[in-house]
Amino acid sequence: MEKTSPNMTIEYVGEEIIVAVLTDEKILEDTQIQALESSFMPLIEQNSPAKLVVDFSNVRFLTSSVLGLLIRISKKIYESEGMLRLCCIQPKIFEIFKITRLDKIFEIYPTREKALEGLQ
């Protein structure tokens, strides 16, 4: 099953794993971040405890505001003992995670397949 929300495509793997593919190449505007937040939060609530994989394969640029959004998403998920994994992050974007040391708090996988391992 696949459906499109603003700025992302949502796929279900099995009955409980959600894969959210971010569709924008650049995520930097407040409106984009608000739209993503408005899509993610109900999704997490409706599927609690959510098992969410966020796929960054289309993303070539983001700002620290997106990092803030990811932290809010992670807090929401961990409140209900769900699981969050990030995957397919381009090297330049991964560098931002390393500089900010967010690579230490997020579970980051090179491929979607690796991210799904152990979740199913």
């Binding site: 407040d30 640029f61 700002t63 620290s64 932290i71 992670s74 330049k92 040391r101 230490k104 708090i105």
Partner: protein, 153 residues
């Protein structure tokens, strides 16, 4: 938005809005591209500009329509040199909590200045903390490129 050519330096006075900042950001990146900056440097400049404009427009001027952001930029094939000044109260960049510390890692904000310092070669704030000067040297300077020198286009 107004601009005045002054040799190779240009100045702008933009409204305290993300839209005005985005338009200027695109123009500045295009100028850097024309001057021979390549993708890695453009990525760094772009990120630093986005973070600095957010700081100026949202944190400095609080999006106050009565306030403006002043920008002075010089771009040559060797370097991208920009000064951004807001009309806010300023801040002490050296007193910001380090977002990399374990106790701050899960905070939702506070990483902009860290990223600016990481991606630009020189970063200086004035004493008040409402003006930042950022410099990026062109890593590919001296290599053949199709760019033209100077800001004027």
């Amino acid at each position: 938005m107004t601009s005045n050519a002054e040799n190779s330096a240009r100045q702008w006075e933009i409204a305290s809005s993300t839209q005005a900042a985005d338009r200027l950001c695109e123009e500045l990146l295009e100028t850097a591209r024309r001057n021979g900056f390549e993708e890695e440097d453009l990525f760094a400049i772009h990120l630093a500009l986005e973070e600095a404009f957010v700081n100026a427009v949202q944190h400095g001027n609080q999006c106050d329509p009565e306030k403006t952001v002043s920008v002075c930029c010089t771009v040559t094939p060797e370097k991208f040199d920009i000064t951004i000044t807001d009309q806010g109260a300023g801040f002490k960049p050296d007193q910001l909590p380090d977002p990399r510390c374990p106790e701050n890692l899960c905070k939702c904000s506070g990483r902009g200045v860290l990223l600016i310092r990481a991606y630009m070669d020189q970063v200086e704030y004035n004493a008040k903390g409402n003006r930042v000067r950022m410099v990026k040297f062109n890593q590919s300077a001296g290599k053949p490129h199709s760019g033209s020198a100077g800001m004027a286009s």
